[in-house]
């Protein structure tokens, strides 16, 4: 009896400003899966701009939350990932990963979120200094988030390659717009569904699916984007890095590293957080 039940399929949407929506352009792109083809939302340039606007609107609120609270929310995201690990596993399997590889990736992605959650209220202590200035002043330097970070996720790994850069950027108080792997919109949508129920304020993380050739130039040139994290290579990457100079973006260009890069020993790095913080130094006179 049950075997004859017709399965309800899912519409693959963008995740922007805390809501799931189709591309304003109405377009989709075909992503082949093991069980046939699905049509995922194909973000337009305008979708990219709307996502940036949402990220900017969310920024001050996210930045000014206590570090403890940001840590709790990121940890809550890890909880949601754990409880949806079956769905994440299925998403990775749809994009063609083997069962063993998918299990390992889901576990790593959850653990990665926990690792960065723990950093939220430690970054400031590790990267700050009180400076022994040679005059009658009190002076401290401490990190602050750069602002809105646009991330172009690597083609693989589809899930961990999203979770790791996103968690690294948001834990310090940045908000992000991330373009997911074109190869794996399944994991992107599954992750978005976990974020949607994780207490993450709307706009802090927006996830776009679509083509790099359409979305990346807009994100790279956008004057309200402060930093660019380019997990890609080739002429499109070079062009994006050049466009980023128009408003002096902070640009990280890791390329598309080999699979072993994503292991805990390599990609769990304070440098990934430090890449998108600014050091602010505040002076005050000391005296009667």
């Amino acid at each position: 009896m049950t075997s004859s039940r017709l399965r309800v399929r899912k519409t693959y949407k963008l995740f922007m400003d805390g809501a799931f929506c189709r591309s304003e352009s109405g377009r989709t792109f075909a992503a082949p899966t093991k069980n046939g083809t699905i049509h995922a939302a194909r973000a337009s340039r305008k979708d990219a701009r709307d996502a940036v606007r949402a990220a900017r609107a969310a920024w001050l609120g996210w930045r000014d939350r206590s570090a403890y609270n940001r840590g709790q929310i990121l940890y809550r995201l890890a909880e949601m990932l754990e409880s949806r690990s079956g769905q994440l596993l299925e998403a990775l399997r749809l994009s063609g990963e083997s069962a063993a590889a998918a299990r390992a990736e889901v576990a790593a992605a959850i653990d990665r979120a926990v690792w960065y959650a723990g950093w939220c209220d430690k970054i400031e202590q590790v990267l700050s200094t009180k400076n022994p200035v040679g005059n009658t002043h009190f002076n401290v330097s401490s990190p602050e988030p750069a602002g809105v970070v646009a991330i172009v996720a690597p083609t693989r790994p589809g899930l961990l390659g999203l979770v790791s850069p996103v968690a690294a950027a948001v834990c310090s108080g940045n908000t992000v717009v991330v373009l997911a792997s074109q190869r794996d919109p399944h994991s992107a949508v599954a992750l978005a569904e976990a974020i949607a129920v994780s207490d993450m304020p709307k706009g802090v993380i927006s996830i776009l699916t679509g083509y790099r050739s359409e979305v990346v130039p807009t994100l790279a040139a956008h004057l309200d984007v402060n930093a660019l994290d380019l997990w890609m290579s080739g002429p499109e990457e070079q062009a994006a890095a050049l466009r980023a100079c128009d408003n002096v973006k902070r640009v990280r260009r890791p390329g598309e590293p080999p699979a072993r890069y994503w292991s805990a020993g390599i990609d769990q790095r304070l440098e990934s957080i430090a890449a998108f913080v600014e050091i602010k130094t505040v002076w005050h006179p000391a005296g009667f």
Partner: protein
């Protein structure tokens, strides 16, 4: 040595327009020779030189700068037009202090980055501006050498002199040949250096416009770069500020070094209840500023650095006049020869005015008002720049909150224009990236 280019440029005293001397105008072949020398010194010696030895060289340089401080101060004042008092009390001692501070790091880099084994990048190409010639050279060279890099430094076209004295000091410190190379020249010299295939890292201080070009070049070459660019800092005066101290801070913030300061407090935001008082006191105070010969130790305001800069200041001030903003200036006579501009401020300035948006890089202040702290923060952050800011209030809690909300790399609370080698300096947004000074200033010169 003589330039292969066979060309020279004149160093001019901006207070008299007389030629001080001629220096080489390095061409592509000269840049190439300098980079090769730096590479050679890096590969053969410097990269393997123990940190403790690098430290001792840097200590020697620091000591020599102090020993020759009088000579350096006079030269700096002549070449830039800045008051001798500022060169003597600020530029030169701080340059020595910078070398002394980074000397101590050379054999302690492991403590700066626990758990890492940092290594140098190689040859650093460095391009510096004309406002603090020796100090900017120190900011660039000291951390680079401490981290084990060799350098090729290009001083600004209009202010090459003290960098050449520094070269002599470095030579007399017995630093191995090629570890530090100084090439004087114009923009084409800097461009050749930035593009040279033998350079591993670029550090630039200067205008945002040139900085973006350098950023693009480095993006094309996938070359690490740090940029310290322009600014349009807000200096915020709350109605509970100590007004007389604040007025001194405003004066220092905008008229220090004729306003040729990237972190100058060039946008004054005054809370409405004290606006009239602050404007009146500012007008009184600027009448007491002495403008004149830079070598006179009573001079407060020296000469504008170059004819081109003077022209730019005139143009922007005209835009303020055209917008109908009331203009206040020091009423005094100016010398007949040389490049001069009276300390000036505009009131009733709108955020959209050119004098509120563009970096003037001269002794010109734009005064605006605000009612609430939120409005002050919003106006202060309403600029593509983010280098520095000032806050004046006697209320501690307000101070903490406002300094936290300002998007600027350096925030001076109840003070302005303070610097120290142990204290990181650098911008947010279009004011550049990377920090100079302190532990944070080591990172751009190391691989970790």
């Amino acid at each position: 040595m003589k330039p292969k280019s066979g060309r020279y440029l004149r160093a001019i005293d901006p207070s008299t327009e007389e030629t001080l001397t001629q220096v080489a105008r390095a061409g592509a072949a000269d840049v190439d020779a300098a980079v090769r020398a730096a590479r050679n010194a890096y590969d053969r010696y410097w990269r393997r030189c123990p940190g403790s030895t690098r430290a001792k060289y840097l200590y020697r340089i620091a000591r020599s700068i102090t020993e020759r401080s009088r000579e350096l101060a006079v030269l700096e004042s002549l070449d830039t037009g800045k008051p001798i008092r500022e060169a003597r009390d600020f530029d030169i001692p701080l340059s020595a202090a910078h070398f002394f501070y980074y000397a101590g790091w050379a054999d302690k880099l492991g403590w700066a980055f626990p758990g890492k084994t940092p290594s140098p990048l190689g040859v650093a190409g460095q391009v510096i501006p004309w406002n603090f010639p020796l100090l900017m050279a120190a900011w660039k060279i000291a951390p680079a050498l401490a981290c084990g890099n060799t350098v090729v430094l290009k001083p600004a076209e209009t202010t090459p002199i003290t960098a050449l004295v520094l070269a002599e000091i470095i030579q007399q410190a017995d630093l191995p040949d090629g570890v530090v190379n100084i090439i004087t020249g114009g923009p084409e010299t800097g461009q050749a250096l930035v593009r040279h295939p033998g350079v591993d890292k670029i550090a630039f201080t200067g205008s945002t416009e040139v900085g973006k070009e350098i950023a693009r070049e480095c993006a094309r070459l996938q070359r690490p770069v740090t940029l310290e660019l322009g600014g349009k800092a807000a200096n915020i005066i709350f109605d509970d500020a100590p007004i007389d101290q604040a007025v001194e801070g405003i004066i220092n913030g905008i008229f220090f070094n004729q306003g040729h300061v990237c972190c100058a407090g060039s946008r004054l935001l005054v809370q409405e209840p004290v606006l009239e008082t602050v404007v009146r006191k500012l007008d009184q105070r600027i009448q007491t500023l002495r403008i004149g010969p830079p070598l006179d130790k009573n001079t407060d305001i020296g000469a504008i650095n170059s004819k081109a800069q003077l022209k730019k200041i005139h143009e922007l001030v005209r835009s303020g006049d055209d917008a109908g903003r009331p203009r206040y200036e020091t009423r005094c006579d100016l010398p007949d020869r040389g490049y001069w501009f009276r300390p000036t401020f505009f009131t009733n300035v709108a955020l959209s005015d050119r004098v509120a948006r563009e970096e003037i890089f001269g002794p010109v202040l734009s005064v605006m008002s605000f009612r609430t702290p939120d409005e002050a923060v919003e106006k202060a952050n309403n600029t593509p720049y983010g280098l520095s800011a000032g806050v004046w209030t006697d209320k501690g809690s307000k101070n903490f909150k406002v300094t936290a909300q300002l998007q600027a790399g350096v925030v001076w609370a109840n003070t302005y224009n303070k610097f120290d080698p142990s204290s990181p300096f650098g911008g947010y947004k279009e004011s550049g990236f990377g920090r100079e000074g302190g532990v944070h200033g080591l990172a751009p010169y190391l691989q970790r």
